[in-house]
Point group: D3
Chain length 130, copies 6
């Protein structure tokens, strides 16, 4: 296993191993190379970089996928991932609400609906905004 593969797997294990395993299984018979690129390049080369910690990186991804508004499965996986690496439900909600300003209310509303689904599945609640 190459260095980037090992680093990629370690980072995936922290962020969202369950989603990554389901994704790899789904890609196995059609595009396993794409799954390998996600391990090696996306997680091994990029998300594992220093400079930002994993909590910051996942919040940034949640915000960007909310703004783009066309990648719901990945948004669900990264909302869960953000919680897995230490973001609070409140921080996730704040990142999504902020997108109302930069990408419009529909994007933010659909992002919150995704967060609601993930939070319900994990039985977590949002603390008041302090």
């Amino acid at each position: 296993m190459s260095g980037e593969s090992r680093r990629g797997r370690e980072t995936i294990d922290k962020v969202n191993r369950t989603a990554a395993e389901a994704q790899a299984a789904s890609l196995a018979d059609i595009a396993p190379e794409l799954g390998q690129f996600i391990v090696d390049f996306a997680f091994g080369d990029v998300i594992s970089r220093p400079g930002l910690d994993l909590r910051e990186r996942e919040l940034i991804t949640v915000a960007a996928l909310t703004a783009l508004g066309n990648a719901r499965p990945q948004l669900l996986a990264h909302i869960a991932g953000a919680l897995n690496v230490g973001a609070t439900p409140r921080q996730v909600v704040e990142a999504i609400i902020q997108m109302a300003v930069y990408a419009g209310f529909p994007a933010a509303l659909n992002g919150i609906a995704a967060a609601k689904e993930v939070f319900a599945e994990r039985g977590v609640a949002v603390d008041p905004p302090v």
Copy 2:
């Protein structure tokens, strides 16, 4: 001045007062209401919220605008804003590079070109990624 206006102006003063003043001047004779919404709603109601600090909020905005790829003037203003509220050039660069994974290389390349322009104007350099 309403509470949200005061709060909005205080937050704008921290993030990027120069850009906000230029924007307000440009809107004055055509859509001053839009400028007021930015102060009261965008900065007063949303960006001033607790739950995430201003550095985190600006990095999130830089990432989202990089991913959307269709708002260069605002991306320039928020890259500068991120630096103003304590993000390092390295953190800005990392947030932008990460968008190669979620929005593709052209988005990341154009985000880096914007950062390069802002960094040059302010005479700041990117430290090595540790």
Copy 3:
């Protein structure tokens, strides 16, 4: 209740009270602030403005959400909203068809599918285009 809240609720009651109440209920335990921003800012500050009437505003929103193509729940609500404030089914259909020119046929086709769903639910039919 502030002036903008009252104005926002009055406008929402005209456009699509049912959808707004469902949305508010859905946001209640996760992001009630976002629901409040929709009342106060989106409907109170923006959609209530003079200069365009509500029928024109809803048709514009239907067109824009069709073009963006990534906000189906909101497109459904605003197609219903357009009918509620006096747009004819024909006008809604024309606004959506026009998006084939500016955002491509897939966007227009998915917009028409949304309109078909709303029209069926309300038992309305499209008159011939004159």
Copy 4:
């Protein structure tokens, strides 16, 4: 000349003949077919349809192009077109401001910047919002 070509040219003459002629000239040596599709299909088949009048159609286009945010030359042409077919500067501004709600503030700000450029070129001013 086919019926749709004649109808397309008549509609173009009302909306923005100057921009259409510049566009046709620019396409002449590389993709004249695309220019012909714009006359026959876009203006002849779609924009000439009954059901919405040209003022409504141009306002809808201005809103959609503002929301998409990636077609500045066409947005400039259709802001001018909206004025040509009877929209007031105020109506154009309102359609653009409304996009802050549905596509975010950067989209609306860049739309207003385009309107400002067109209004300046034509020496028109925005009346107060009543």
Copy 5:
């Protein structure tokens, strides 16, 4: 029947007659004109043009719809269409994977999920990449 209608229907029959008939049936009572534009303009005027063959045209469409990420029904129809006009499953998969570079991994993953659905329905498998 006009020349472009006949040409359009011939091309549709090659690309994906089943999907086109379902689409026409769905549009019949709400926007049959849109269906006619797809026959006459989209397939008759554009997709039937020489210069690229139908296999190349369908692969280009699959790539573009994957990159846009907001038109799943049409992406499914054109993945099937690509196979119908001679593209191999491998070529379809390669066109989609390539979008990871230009539009990000979520776009490519959702494109592959669409291909997986079409391939399963038709009982085709992807050959190894040589």
Copy 6:
């Protein structure tokens, strides 16, 4: 140099070495890692894959970037790249015109404007569409 780096450089040399060198120089003092990812991952891992030839891959990229409409520098580089690997100007024009159907006329018009710029710079003309 790793295998993917070597393969990436060989592919870049075929597609558009000039643009790649300018890009690498521009990234050198701010995000050289991003430049390395483009060599190793984008060109070495993805674009070098078998299954589609380079001419097909560049045409697909031209179409996708035209449809996205928010990456002009990269669109210019890949239009040139398509010519470099054997696409004719006519094929490039056809791929772009086709995007009028899937992403709207503004996207296609701006794509043609980019092609016009590249063709002029290289002194190539478009043959009639046969």
